[in-house]
Point group: C2
Chain length 431, copies 2
């Protein structure tokens, strides 16, 4: 620190989030000082391209092309990393922590892949490492989880943590759009990248799920541990069929602790209309948490965008700065325990299975038999005519993934079955 109660900040990256952060710090510096006694000052900003025009009120002398210079600058007290990606972010953050400088990062990819190394380095150095913005943009979730709920036994977290896919699914459900048309709309609005794979195939959500599970259950979980299915196979008809049954389809990030094992997965799921997650529309995100004492909680807001993300980074930054001035530390991650990750085959859900079969006597009984033989109990069935064929929709009670998969495989082999349509997991009462 640089004497008095001024904390000088080095920012790595000045894109969408970085420039929003710079403006927010400058706008709010007086208010923050009034409320907390700490003055935030931007010392250095590392950028990729020095010649680009930036809409931030900082002198040219603040900017540098050399990120490591920002980290090592003795006048920089706290480092904010908003570059993204694993390298060089990892090395820069490690250097800052080892130099005793608190770090605020919004980097989900980094934390979901090499989080343990970073957490342990922060722990060993006794330095704050804060990352509210890495999981759900502007939504305060990591701080409540680390602080308000540190004494709570958390059973499960269900999240809508990817705004792009939630926007697409909302358009498909509400306008009857196809996946491709809705994706196109998301792209034209800037909600989806030209290559949308990371969003629509669930990779972004899987990284966030790993971080959520690490913090909620104090366990070593990496992105690669997370079972993952995307939304690109879903059709407008699936949405309509879900609606008729009283559900809406969402891409869910699910982290739960089951008898000491961690189950982590990302996949589309049918959510009952009355569940709070069902009303999370467009590009909004939400995290729904079930705890032993607190019951159900939900945190809702913007999961991305310059303003919301910068707001979350600023909250962390103020915390780190206050701790620095007072010589204390914020909540620590502690040591993440090795806990077994439950294979997806062992996970239990309710399932929705749509299939088309010949409309003949005895077909329904034959199909129902296959479910029963595999230990999958049927909760409801709907049949509707399609000329010579019938469309059958089964919703099961809770069943193991492996049992359901075997059931579907065997049903597909039946002569009377024309095709298996969509198979979706269903979020039910306590399921």
């Amino acid at each position: 620190m640089n004497g008095d109660d001024t904390v000088r900040i080095g920012i790595l990256g000045c894109g969408n989030v970085g420039s929003a952060l710079v403006r927010l710090i400058i706008d709010q510096a007086d208010v923050i000082e009034g409320r907390t006694g700490v003055r935030l000052e931007i010392a250095r900003v590392a950028v990729r391209n020095l010649s680009r025009e930036r809409d931030v009120p900082l002198p040219a002398s603040c900017f540098t092309h050399d990120a490591s210079e920002v980290v090592s600058d003795p006048s920089v007290d706290v480092v904010v990393e908003v570059i993204g990606g694993i390298e060089p972010a990892r090395e820069l953050i490690m250097d800052a922590l080892k130099a005793g400088k608190p770090v605020v990062t919004a980097n989900k990819e980094l934390l979901a892949n090499v989080g343990r190394e970073i957490f342990e380095t922060a722990e060993f150095a006794g330095v704050d490492l804060l990352f509210e913005a890495a999981v759900a943009g502007g939504i305060p979730f990591i701080r409540p989880l680390r602080e308000s709920l540190v004494g709570e036994r958390i059973r499960r977290v269900l999240g809508i943590v990817n705004g792009t896919t939630n926007f697409i699914l909302t358009r498909m459900a509400e306008d009857g759009s196809s996946f491709h048309d809705a994706l196109g709309e998301a792209q034209s609005l800037g909600y989806a990248e030209r290559d949308p794979t990371a969003d629509v195939e669930g990779y972004d959500a899987a990284a966030k799920t790993a971080i959520i599970a690490s913090i909620a259950f104090g366990a070593r979980v990496v992105a690669g541990d997370v079972y993952r299915e995307g939304i690109s196979e879903l059709t407008a008809h699936d949405m309509q069929s879900a609606r008729q049954l009283g559900y809406v389809v969402k891409l869910l990030a699910i982290a739960e602790e089951i008898d000491g094992s961690i189950a982590v997965r990302v996949h589309p799921a049918m959510v009952p209309n009355q569940h709070p997650l069902a009303s999370v529309r467009d590009s909004f995100n939400a995290l729904f948490l079930e705890g032993d004492a607190v019951g159900e909680l939900m945190f809702y807001g913007r999961g991305a965008g310059g303003g919301p993300t910068a707001s979350a980074v600023l909250g962390d930054l103020i915390d780190a700065a206050k701790n620095l001035v007072s010589g204390s530390r914020g909540a620590t991650i502690g040591t993440l325990a090795r806990k077994p990750v439950l294979p997806i085959d062992e996970v239990e859900s309710m399932f929705y299975v749509l299939l088309e079969a010949a409309d003949q006597p005895g077909v329904l009984a034959t199909i129902a038999n296959v479910f029963g033989e595999n230990g999958v109990s049927i909760r409801s069935m709907q049949q509707s005519g399609l000329g010579d064929d019938a469309r059958l929709i089964f919703v099961t009670h809770r069943a193991r993934e492996a049992d359901l998969r075997r059931t579907v495989h065997q049903v597909r082999e039946l002569d009377a079955v024309r095709r298996i349509g969509t198979v979706l997991r269903v979020i039910g009462d306590g399921a």
Copy 2:
């Protein structure tokens, strides 16, 4: 503190919340120590009736009838107040703070009426005063507001902060129950008191609104500043009519800062079906916040009950205990500024006005004229026949309360108007 990292707790009150808290502390002590390094130990518990059986695993020697003895006991490091009411809670808390003991309280009545005195005493003594449970039970809202959002310019908070009235309104909307039948159901389920005035007339929500406004805007606001209307005049027909227009009726706590003035009010309002608050059902609570950078946030969960409230108290307790061990302090309230409270007459809303009038040529024009002359602009109008009469439903654009009230008064005086039915404020897009 008593040496090493054990923090000894004195609890004032052992009713529903106090006993849930005792069990939670004992159950979770090892987990909390593992995660935070701090050991929580219950030193003393003050109860009204020493002879009552309590379902808590504590020796009889822990209990005392004398609350002030708990506060002054040198072995007590932190004081938890879950008695409720103003006296003796106020005096006990003041004594604890003056003795340098951090205080965790769930007491909304106290903070909404004499909060400033308590906040200033804590500030002067340099001691933590935490009260997450006072506003919305188990929902982490005060901590995110004080910490994550301390750098955010907050425009408005809309809350469903009373579970009893939300349960009643949900039953009226979904089952077509009358207010009295739904109240009876709430009473038989233990959600409503035998004398339900504090809940149904909005007093409980008004106290919470005062606390929310104090923290969100750093202003001196007391319960008496909050304009208040309850739900006892609402009918099942109002609910049905709201639904036909695409709305649901909720009792809202509203705190906003308008050009440096604070507007605080509690009243029923029509909330559009697609607004996140519309899906908050039964006895759940939610706080919906609009900020400059972060955009829209919502925090949802249980606003009352032993488990959720104890969970919030425990989160605060762990924070206070950690700060005590590390010799630091949590977020402070700072000095609450004097800001003018906007009179309700000056507040602007959209309005819904239902009235019955003779079904004669020219009547609609006459009524519409009265709106226009008073500067109230009509957004939509619906007319339906009732024999010789017509039922008219007006929804206005944003208008000042005073202008709307004058309009209603003048419309009522028109010969062709039989009666004015319900008048409700409407939450709209940015309204």
